[in-house]
Amino acid sequence: MRAFKYTNAPDSASAIRTVSANPAAKFLGGGTNLVDLMKEDVMHPTELMDVTRLSYTKIEKKNDGVSIGATATNSTTANHELIRKNYPLLSMAILAGASAQIRNMATNGGNLNQRTRCSYFYDVNMACNKREPGSGCAALNGVNKNHAILGWSEKCVATYPSDMAVALAALDAVVQVEGPNNSSRSIPFAEFHRLPADHPEKDNNLKQGELITAIDLPANQLAEKSYYLKIRERSSYAFALVSVAAALVTEGGRISEVRIALGGVAHKPWRATVAEKWLTGKEATTANFKAAAAAEMKNAKPLQHNKYKVGLALNAITRALEGAMQGGAYGTMEAESTSKN
């Protein structure tokens, strides 16, 4: 970890001022990603502005929806009444991630800005366009079983690791941002994260010095039927191979609204718009779910080691929609009690 100056930000204006003035400065949330990457020497900010004591911790009703503060922790958010009741998909997704300790530290703003877990990105001796633009992508022809099957470019095949963000994508969240000189803007979630294209060094569309202050969740009818499914190599405390946030509204057995977002398959939370379109107006049957999933996966382009993800994602979309139909109270294999306990 390189030397840096630490400041406990007294107010947002000065935090924003400092970070926008210094391209090598960063905001510090819970530190669970940034401190990790600094120890690995992947990131070396010269200045950290600790924003965790700023007053963006509220989770409250806003218009018809709910606004969650950027510095509220992941665990507070997942357990908040308003979220559990109205956006159970978000609670489930957050609780599927990391560990209780990490969720107690992680802030919502930090979660959206966490970086890829690509192992070549983490190893400073490897070529990586995300870490060092222009150096190449070691994963493209390397061990890439955890990498993207959708939306990647030759420049970068990394996936975006957040579970929370997958739910936020499905929920059409809006990211509230404050910038220098009292500026502010709202970024629809679909436009927040980026595909790698020619600039994998950019994970998202925030500008240097822009501070996330809140994430707004618009009102919806999806709470009754939503489900977050996460598939991983061990049953907990592991990143997703593939995850699916699914939610729907049915009227008389027909799907009037459906949201599907995928994690672990692309450089951003992947809204499965093809499958959504396919399903809208159709009957909520497993056969239809499967057909819709297959339609979405037609666009998949697996790499050398991750062909399995295509079939996995297909089955996961189907299962997640089934889970949503059952109101989320749908067991994972872990949740089902052991046969002899």
Binding site: S119, V143, K309, S339
Partner: protein
């Protein structure tokens, strides 16, 4: 009632749960400097230049040390090292002595600084230029260039080479498949760490996370050219080892650093370094062929292993169990060992048997299925009571009981031979089993027992408790051998200045040190009796030694227990402040051979001799049973319950013994379902770098585990009757799980670990 065997709680428990137990990195010293190594970033080649100008200017930096300026160590010399008891170096590469790079991650330099933060930052700023050479990084590609080693640890490595083929060709019933196991890492929770403190130029204390204080001391003394008695290694608590905590290069590096800066120095390895610098279990590709006659009796077994090593003679001996299990008239066991530019492989929990039983016990299951025989029945038909190679009887063997009891406890009868018959909701349910086995080892050991005038007894030996319960069971043994309560006994271990003991490896600690402890107690009682007999004031005055027995802190005459005298009174009348006895026992049958107490000095364990290996074969056995649930849509597998029945001789403490078996089973679940280190095929660097990538089981992966011990004493290994239990728990586990997956799904998975993508590949 005997203390031995009782499930008493660990006597070191309160220190561990209160944070008071100190592990090596916690022996902070005044004025201590911190070391952070620099690792090679190429697989093979030479260091052309090291630029440390920037690093040296970093605040707090005391020194940057590489082969260019490092202290010269005594060079490798196997003969001399053997003589000095220093042959067992993790990797044969004295550190920082040349510019040659043998594998990615090799320690090539280090920064010594005032603080950890400063050392780490400066280490990142050391720039190294290399001349690269073509490296061997892919096992498959290197197999054609591999060697067929003649020997493995003193035994013939290639057994009946070429003899199986004609028999296999002639057999009607056979299976012949390839099984592969990946690189696994030990990853004990405590990273290796050393604090080195010099006292003058020729005395060194190492607080070192090691499985053998004596071994570490001997190796450090050899390479640093010190008198063995001038190196003291201290490790009262060690946070797990699983085979990885022998002596690796960092221990020497810290000693060199401390000497260079003239201050105590500390180095705790990072988890990333644990992936490259302290050994691993090498990957194997095993081919197992079995053939039977029409009655399901094995006629021939062939087990071939392709594996690799680097900077060591060791290689993964995955054919071991195939020389021990089952009654086939002919067996062929062979190895190809390639050399890779990959960090050095080493012993890892049940070296050989862990991956080897996966292959053999999967093949047994395949054969049983082919013949539509129940897998237990198939094993019973082929059971052997003798070591099939030498023809010796097993010293004590209850494997058939393990099968029977295990089947009952597990509910095996509910299993159908045909797969895909059982469902639980949307999951396929399967049952699988496998045989477990591991050799019973025993080495020479010395133990000293001291009784003070207050009756408090201190027992000491240079053994280690890596979580195995050594502190506790040693106190139990001494309590029985002296007839005193456990809580009057203090146990001192983990210090090389104590009487010598073998390293905590090979599941041999209990079998080795307990006979010596008992012998020391016998000697102590004899000395007490002699004092009493000679003392006119004693009720035992003038009695014959053979007539005297002991119980409850007293000696008494067997025929008349009113004639008695307590240890305390004997001691106090003799005006002694303490009485001491020390014994060294060699691994021979029966009572063991106690050697003269002159040999009972620290560091001098006599060479082993006279072992009755010639008469008996010493092996532990067990049966492992798994129930798995498989989600076929995703290829996710969860072990839902597990039964392990173990025939490991006498149980010294049921609580700690059970924990060890559970621990072995859990590591086996890890090996079966998730553990693997991947390497980049182009450059040879590990792509699995940390505990976020190297998945070990977490709480939620672990089901209830039912452990049952046969608990019958082994009359031949020692008077104690216990064989080890540290390793057998892991053997057979991955096969039991893979066999259960087959029973659930009809899919035979032969490539560990069984992660979801494997399911999509078949």
């Amino acid at each position: 009632m005997s203390e031995t065997g009782k499930p008493i709680s660990r006597i070191d428990g309160s220190m561990k749960v209160s944070g008071k137990a100190l592990y090596s990195a916690e022996f902070n010293q005044p004025n201590m400097a911190y070391v952070f190594p620099v690792r090679a970033t190429i697989a093979k080649g030479k260091i052309a230049a090291i630029d440390d100008t920037v690093a040296k200017k970093e605040p707090g930096v005391l020194a940057v040390i590489s082969h260019l300026n490092a202290q010269k160590l005594k060079p490798m010399d196997m003969q001399a090292q053997m003589k000095a008891g220093a042959a067992f170096l993790g990797e044969n590469l004295p550190p920082l002595q040349s510019n040659v790079v043998h594998y990615p991650g090799q320690f090539i330099a280090m920064v010594v600084a005032e603080t950890y933060e400063q050392a780490r930052t400066a280490a990142y700023k050391v720039k190294v230029r290399y001349t690269k050479e073509k490296a061997a990084v892919d096992l498959k590609a290197e197999i054609p260039n591999s060697k067929r080693p003649k020997m493995f640890m003193g035994e013939e490595a290639q057994v009946n080479e070429g003899k199986a083929a004609p028999l296999l060709a002639a057999s009607a019933q056979k299976v012949d498949h390839k099984y592969s196991t990946p690189v696994e890492h030990h990853h004990p929770m405590e990273p290796h760490a050393t604090v080195a403190v010099w006292d003058g130029k020729d005395r060194l204390t190492l607080y070192d996370a090691t499985q053998g204080v004596g071994l570490t001391g001997a190796i450090a003394a050899y390479f640093l050219d010190l008198k063995p008695e001038n190196v003291r290694v201290v490790a009262p608590f060690v946070g797990g080892g699983f085979g990885s905590k022998g002596l690796w290069l960092h221990t020497l590096i810290v000693a060199m650093a401390a000497k260079a800066v003239g201050r105590p120095a500390k180095l705790a390895l990072t988890r990333q370094m644990m992936q490259t610098n302290v050994g691993h279990r090498a990957a194997t590709v095993q081919r197992v062929a079995l053939a039977t006659d029409t009655n399901g009796k094995l006629s021939v077994m062939r087990h071939h292993t392709d594996t690799y090593n680097n900077l060591t003679q060791f290689f993964e001996p995955s054919g071991k169990q195939s020389l021990v299990l089952y009654k086939a008239p002919l067996r062929e066991v062979t190895y190809n060992v390639a050399q890779l530019n990959r960090s050095t492989p080493t012993f890892m929990r049940a070296p050989g048997e862990s991956p080897g039983t996966f292959a053999l016990e999967s093949a047994m299951d395949e054969m049983a299925f082919k013949m539509k025989i129940d897998p237990i029945e198939f094993r019973i038909r082929n059971h052997t009571t003798k070591d099939p190679m030498q023809g010796h009887d097993f010293s004590s063997e209850y494997l058939l009981d393990c099968y029977r009891i295990g089947a009952e406890r597990f509910g095996w009868s509910a299993r159908s031979i045909e797969p895909r018959q059982k469902r639980q909701g949307r999951y396929l349910v399967g049952y699988g089993m496998a045989t477990a086995t591991y050799p019973g080892g025993r080495s020479a050991a010395s133990v000293k027992v001291v009784m003070d005038a207050k009756g408090k007894v201190t027992v000491s030996t240079a053994s280690i408790d890596i979580g195995t319960g050594t502190y506790t069971v040693l106190a139990q043994t001494v309590a029985d051998a002296l007839g005193i309560p456990v809580d009057t006994i203090e146990v001192r271990i983990g210090d090389s200045s104590l009487p010598a003991a073998p390293l905590a490896g090979g599941s041999q600690t209990t079998a080795s040190i307990h006979p010596a402890a008992v012998e020391a107690c016998v000697l102590l009682r004899r000395d007490l009796a002699a004092l009493a007999i000679a003392d006119p004031d004693s009720r035992l005055s003038g009695q014959r030694l053979e007539e005297i027995d002991f119980a409850k802190g007293k000696l008494f005459v067997k025929s008349d227990d009113k004639k008695n005298d307590s240890y305390l009174n004997i001691l106090s009348r003799s005006k002694r402040t303490e009485l001491e006895a020390c014994a060294t026992t060699l691994p021979v049958s029966g009572a063991g051979l106690t050697v003269p107490s002159a040999l009972c000095t620290p560091r001098e364990t006599p060479a082993e001799q006279n072992s009755d290996i010639k008469q008996y074969a010493f092996h532990s056995f067990g049966a492992q049973f798994a129930e798995v649930w498989v989600d076929e849509d995703f290829g996710t597998i969860r072990v839902k319950r597990f039964t392990s029945v173990q025939d490991v001789g006498r149980i010294m403490n049921e609580k700690t013994a059970r924990s060890q078996v559970i621990g072995g089973v859990i590591m086996g679940i890890g090996a079966a379902l998730m553990e693997a280190t991947d390497y980049d095929q182009r450059w040879g660097n590990p792509v699995t770098r940390t505990l976020a990538d190297y998945h070990v089981p977490v709480h939620l992966d672990v089901p209830p585990i039912d452990v049952h011990f046969i608990g019958k004493n082994d009359p031949h290994i020692s008077p104690i009757g216990a064989r080890g239990i540290g390793e057998i728990g892991i053997t057979g586990v991955s096969a039991a799980i893979a066999n259960a997956v087959f029973n659930a799904t009809g899919k035979r998975l032969r490539d560990l670990p069984l992660t979801p993508e494997k399911f999509y590949e078949v």
